[in-house]
Symmetry: C2
Subunit: 398 residues, 2 copies
């Protein structure tokens, strides 16, 4: 045994924190600016009213005069509206910067690319996030909503985006695209608004949350509820449940990866050279230390209640949100480019293939493209560039 | 959507609690009696001393005069020494009753089959378990050990069994066999005592804990440490951390299964007919309710500290426990029958195949047999009977 944490393990810490480590495939990334969209009143799918909704958004490229070159990008569970570009010269680029930018497959010299924060966005402590959720003050009371915030769904995320698109004056979207939870929003957009979506590109996602995903989302959430600091969601005047939230984010990180990654990167290395895990119950292996550190780091900028609401929104998802996911998926009319990983342990390949089959049975065209980066679910983020030419061609098709 | 919990979901509750629901393949199950093996002093792999070790064991069949017809059965993470037979006429049979008994593949008319509880066995509250661990009184203090109990390893489990076998007067074992954590004990037996193991049958397990398994064992354990009742392991005079332990067991149950099972059994059914999960953050889906109930039921008879020590023992495992798992596995001389599931999400198929390849490279024969029950890891328990004829033939071979 090599009893030490390796350089590769340290590199993986960064990767685990979802920062794509590959050099950008293109030389130039534009600077971007956060904008804020406000809605005086919003009614949820569940029939509840939320006043003073505020959502952050950003855009890359120029909207043309015909207003027909807009692409909407929808974000993943722990993602946000910084899908591409940088805030400052030195800042990390957005999470899909490999494919979005001037000359890139989603070419900002041609397209006006919009990305917005969802409701109950996880990253309440990040400067690039503006969202409305349990951590927001309820205008009725002036106090944070906490667990009194209405249950929201993926469809609600889409409805807020629809208001934003209406506000900008865009009637039809050239495409809607997004990974993971972003894919769920893509299915919902294409199903609910077939007249407004010309192309749909769901990545590493399926057309409904199956029992397996529902159960895992429950497991992800459980540590938060166990943390005594959670206090039934009432912690905004006290210490937040950082430990529970860190554990929750640790599970997300691990399950979003694949055992190939875990094993190749860490093996049975110890966290510290002189601390054999055999010698003490608290001595850890390298992969434990790296996942603990990644969870703790992400917890600091995240909100625990928002995590619970996001998990619920994902559990509640099925395309169309009316009868069942069959009806919802068969309502899709736009051509669909589905990008997935065979190694995905969050949205498994069978569910992805079933989704494609159901959409096809409704008459729409579906192209299924695999990406393979050895990172499981995260392949849809970290090696999305591998599908760059298929994405470019898909956006060019009439 | 069908907004109700289905009969199949209720049946699955039993299955989730690891009670094999299939009717026994054979008509007769013997009554068994628990015996207790005591060791005045035991020294762990880590060099620590444990006084007054007590371990439960049971046996099926008769030891012949030559004492060469003994088979040792080693148990899984949440299992115990009741591998076969029943305590009373109406009791549920042991967990491998499908293959162990008179006329069955592990034929108790021919073999003397021994099963023992491991150290730090999880089921401290079960009548069929006798174990020594954190919940046991430390003879030095008269108080439960708690987290002062020494770290123990799979090799320590095997050493206690070796003392038991010595005590019975058995020199060579006709076979050692076990599923999951039981497989780890099998590898260890065959590697450490090639002269005493004539056949090795590891089921749903690989020859080392890889980084992926190490990380998941950490995730399994985390809810216990988050439960304020855990109190650094000092809870034997107070309320035990049942909530954390229930969450831990919930994850074990889910990950030991496969998404095929989850999806076919539960779909998107609700836990209660009139409680749409959309209407309230606390309204659950059927699979959540069933997993919660299974976790809570199992927590009542389990000990949280024992769970942590078991998880640690599994993390620390690599065959041979000296140089590395290559050396350990190549030391195996006995023919090996490895039974596994392609759907296993705990010990993945690549690790199983690599294990077989390494053992073969050391010169031992390995036969690899797949079982397919749609239950993932649990296939090695629930449909082990599918491999019955291969097991019978393996035990017959000279």
């Amino acid at each position: 045994m090599v009893p030490t944490i390796s350089a590769s393990a340290l590199r993986a810490l960064c990767a685990a924190a979802l920062v794509a480590s590959a050099a950008p495939a293109y030389a130039y990334d534009e600077l971007v600016e956060k904008q804020i969209f406000e809605l005086e009143e919003f009614t949820t799918v569940g029939g509840e009213t939320i006043r003073d909704v505020r959502i952050g958004w950003e855009a890359y490229g120029e909207l043309n005069e015909a207003r027909d070159n807009a692409i909407l990008v929808t974000h993943f569970f722990s993602g946000n509206s910084n899908a591409a570009g940088r805030y400052e010269e030195d800042a990390a680029p957005g999470w899909w910067h490999e494919i979005i930018g001037p000359g890139k497959p989603v070419d900002t010299d041609r397209f006006y690319v919009i990305a917005s924060d969802t409701l109950v966005n996880l990253g309440t402590g990040l400067p690039q996030v503006v969202t409305t959720g349990p951590a927001t003050a309820n205008p009725e009371t002036g106090e944070p909503w906490g667990m009194d915030f209405p249950v929201v769904t993926i469809r609600d995320f889409v409805e807020v985006q629809r208001h934003l698109i209406d506000d900008i004056g865009i009637e039809r979207l050239h495409a809607v695209m997004g990974p993971s939870m972003g894919a769920l929003q893509v299915f919902e957009w294409a199903s609910a608004y077939p007249d407004r979506v010309e192309r749909a590109m769901p990545v590493i996602g399926s057309g409904w949350a199956d029992a397996n995903l529902i159960a895992w989302l429950n497991v992800w959430s459980a540590p938060i509820r166990l943390d005594p600091n959670w206090n039934e969601g009432d912690y905004y005047d006290a210490d937040p449940p950082l430990q529970g939230l860190a554990e929750a984010l640790k599970i997300v990180t691990l399950q979003s990866n694949h055992w190939k990654w875990a094993n190749r990167t860490f093996g049975r290395d110890w966290a510290e050279e002189d601390a054999d895990p055999l010698d003490d119950m608290d001595n850890r292996f390298a992969i434990e230390a790296v996942l603990d550190a990644a969870g703790a780091a992400r917890a600091v900028t995240s909100d625990a209640n928002h995590f619970l609401y996001l998990a619920k929104a994902n559990q509640l998802f099925f395309a169309g949100h009316e009868e069942d996911h069959y009806q919802g998926l068969m309502a899709i009319e736009a051509p669909v480019l589905m990008i997935y990983s065979e190694d995905d342990l969050v949205f498994n390949k069978e569910a992805v293939r079933d989704t494609a089959a159901i959409i096809r049975s409704g008459g729409a065209e579906v192209e299924l493209v695999e990406v393979t980066g050895g990172r499981g679910h995260l392949d849809g983020l970290l090696v999305i560039g591998h599908a760059g030419e298929q994405i470019r061609a898909f956006l060019d098709n009439d």
